[in-house]
């Protein structure tokens, strides 16, 4: 069900080509904010984009939340050490033995348990949310990197070389886009053993999640990169490089890749929230990381049996996912608008 999301953002971001045809090679990145102080100055597309991004309040708010979440994920042990209990420690004294719900009102929220306790076993929800951020962000980032690298390489190859290579790669992308991703992943994860390649328990599952989400993500990147490469490869500056005797790989690396960075960057930022949702969905369906490792989707799947008696335990991880995805989407939309050469918003 996340596929249409890709579709939407793919459609939106096709318009995003930052053309720097007269300045191939590494874009001039010296333009930090204070460098634009002089009266009239040539500005690179990157500087223009940066100025635009700085004016976009919503995108900045998104970026701020994203940075905050990354810090939370990195500093999880410190934060939990200061404000919470170990994430897999049981606190059955906080639980009503008769109903399995927290004794305290509002899901057991107190100064001791900042976000309440989990029904039945009384684990600290705050600690599990903080540790859940690690899984969520780690899987989403790594899967996005994997998809972007694979999609870029194969997309460039398809677009630049054309012919039967292009035909074959395009077919593969079509097939992959029609695969029922969620169903496939849960089927795959259900047959995975607990130990694989020296990893065990959550390690296997995290690796499987990254690989599967990334693997199903690359065709979306591949299609865009292929399209861009097709339109760029006949530009004058490529011909100029060819007539100067540049080899194919030199042209790929020095002439094409720099001009593809903008659309790839936009797509990568917008892919992260989609990946977070996919990870949550898979964990919700029981195909993600297993307890005791905490993940937001898995907390929601626990909540589905208890939410009528203890709604707080359902609302908190749901909002954690919502806020995180929203922040990345705001930031991603901002980056896209900032890099859009046509856009003045």
């Amino acid at each position: 069900m996340t596929a249409p999301l890709h579709e939407t953002s793919a459609g939106e971001s096709t318009a995003t080509v930052v053309g720097a045809p007269d300045a191939p090679g590494t874009p001039d990145n010296s333009g930090t904010p204070d460098a634009s102080a002089k009266a009239i100055q040539g500005r690179s597309p990157w500087q223009i984009a940066w100025t635009r991004l700085k004016r976009d309040k919503l995108a900045l708010a998104g970026a701020f939340v994203v940075v905050f979440l990354i810090l939370v994920a990195i500093l999880a042990p410190v934060i939990v050490g200061l404000l919470g209990h170990p994430p897999d420690e049981f606190h059955e004294d906080q639980i009503d033995p008769l109903f399995g719900t927290p004794i305290g009102s509002w899901g057991g929220i107190s100064s001791d348990f900042l976000l309440g306790v989990e029904p039945v076993n009384g684990r600290d929800v705050f600690s599990r949310i903080v540790y859940g951020a690690r899984i969520s962000l780690l899987v989403a980032f790594l899967a996005a990197v994997f998809a972007v690298v694979l999609g870029t390489v194969l997309g460039i190859i398809a677009g630049y070389f054309g012919g039967w290579i292009d035909a074959a790669l395009s077919r593969v992308m079509d097939v992959m886009l029609a695969f029922p991703q969620l169903l496939f992943t849960i089927a795959l994860v259900s047959v995975l053993p607990n130990e694989l390649l020296g990893l065990d328990g959550s390690g296997v599952r995290i690796a499987a999640l990254v690989l599967v989400i990334g693997f199903f993500g690359w065709p979306y990147v591949g299609r865009i990169v292929r399209g861009q490469t097709l339109s760029l490869r006949n530009r004058e500056y490529v011909e100029a490089a060819q007539s100067l005797g540049a080899g194919r790989f030199y042209i790929l690396r020095r002439e094409l890749l720099p001009n593809l960075i903008a659309p790839i960057m936009v797509y990568a930022t917008l892919m992260i929230p989609t990946n977070i949702l996919t990870e949550a969905a898979l964990s919700f369906l029981g195909a993600g990381v297993k307890p005791p490792t905490a993940s937001w989707g898995q907390m929601l799947s626990t909540a589905i049996t208890t939410y009528e008696a203890d709604p707080i335990f359902m609302v908190i991880p749901g909002f954690a996912i919502f806020i995180t995805v929203l922040a990345f989407n705001l930031f991603g939309d901002g980056v896209r608008d900032a890099l859009d050469p046509k856009g003045s918003r």
Binding site: P4, L5, E7, E12, P180, L183, L285
Partner: protein, 332 residues
């Protein structure tokens, strides 16, 4: 045109075969590589060796993957007999497999589940298409106003909410607290109001997510279209604004949206796994989850195949419709 259809149909068949083969391989090759016995997986934990052996023979798990593949595919067209462990189970055409867990023909399980998914998806699709497209168009026309910003922020929030969370929130508020709607699904043949009440929340929840996506897409497409030369020409030659928008702009705006609508519809009919799980509906998505949690290979194989078939067929229909709607598209 005919040659194009034939070629596309051929591609569809090849793709479905690939999906079947890959699914079979997951359940056949991965357990083998990691040293566990697939037959034992399908029987359950407290299985005696005899019944494991029976399953192995019935499913032909010792045979090469391509032979198993052939048995499966031919079963769809001519039916299939499962022999082994001293008895034979006949599975009539179209045989999508036999579930040893539930001792049922998979095809009959699919037939039972399909109306649930179909009712859910069609109802939601009507809602989200109307809601999403109209919001997107209004937003594009009122670009930059407070209406546009409010609509787009709501839409962004909509696409950022995991559907299973929205589903639980909706159930909590409207079912548990306010008690406006009933809990369970009733077939339309039994009671229309029961059917309507049982599906109202799934419809609204699913439609909210998709309406948000469609509103964003419609707005972006519409803005792009409004910047095109032919719109300026239409205005310059003095056409009234309703004609420019209604006839000229809407036509190009709708083409990409219909494309995605077709694909979304196909994907959802093939299994709205998350929505069905959250609302405990027993449609195709629910069947898929049941199959995975019980490690019922024949069931998973069939549902995966049906899901992929829905997506691929929807793609084909969309491509053909495209040629009808948009005269610029030429089928080579």
């Amino acid at each position: 045109m005919l040659a194009y259809i034939v070629r596309r149909l051929f591609a569809v068949v090849v793709m479905l075969l690939v999906v079947t083969l890959v699914t079979l391989s997951i359940f056949f090759l991965i357990p083998k590589m990691t040293g566990s016995d697939p037959a034992a997986m399908f029987v359950g934990k407290q299985a005696d060796p005899a019944s494991i052996e029976g399953i192995r023979q019935k499913l032909g798990l010792d045979e090469p993957i391509l032979v198993q593949f052939w048995h499966f595919v031919s079963g769809i067209f001519v039916g299939r007999d499962y022999t082994g462990g001293g008895d034979t189970i006949h599975c009539a055409m179209p045989c999508f497999g036999y579930s040893f867990r539930t001792e049922q023909d998979v095809w009959s399980m699919l037939v039972d589940a399909f109306p649930v998914t179909l009712s859910m998806v069609i109802g939601a699709a009507v809602l989200w298409l109307v809601l999403g497209v109209s919001t997107g168009v209004i937003s594009a026309l009122k670009r930059g106003t407070i209406i546009d910003r409010a609509a787009m922020i709501t839409a962004l929030a909509g696409v950022s909410l995991p559907i299973f969370f929205t589903a639980m929130l909706a159930m909590l508020v409207f079912r548990t607290q306010l008690q406006w709607v009933d809990a369970s699904y009733t077939p339309i043949t039994e009671s229309f109001t029961g059917w309507f009440g049982g599906l109202l929340l799934p419809w609204v929840t699913l439609a909210f997510l998709y309406a948000a996506m469609y509103a964003r897409l419609t707005r972006a497409t519409m803005l792009e279209v409004l910047g095109e030369d032919y719109i300026r020409t239409a205005r310059a030659k003095g056409l009234p604004e309703p004609v420019v928008l209604g006839k000229h702009a809407m036509r190009s705006t709708m083409t990409p949206i219909l494309t995605i609508f077709g694909m979304d519809l196909g994907a959802l009919v093939g299994g709205a796994i998350l929505t069905e799980t959250a609302f405990s509906l027993h449609g195709l998505g629910g069947l898929a989850i049941k199959g995975v949690s019980e490690r019922d290979l024949p069931l998973i194989l069939a549902v995966t195949l049906i899901t992929a078939a829905c997506v691929v067929v929807a793609n084909l229909v969309v491509d053909l419709l495209y040629a009808v709607i948009d005269p610029r598209v030429r089928l080579a």
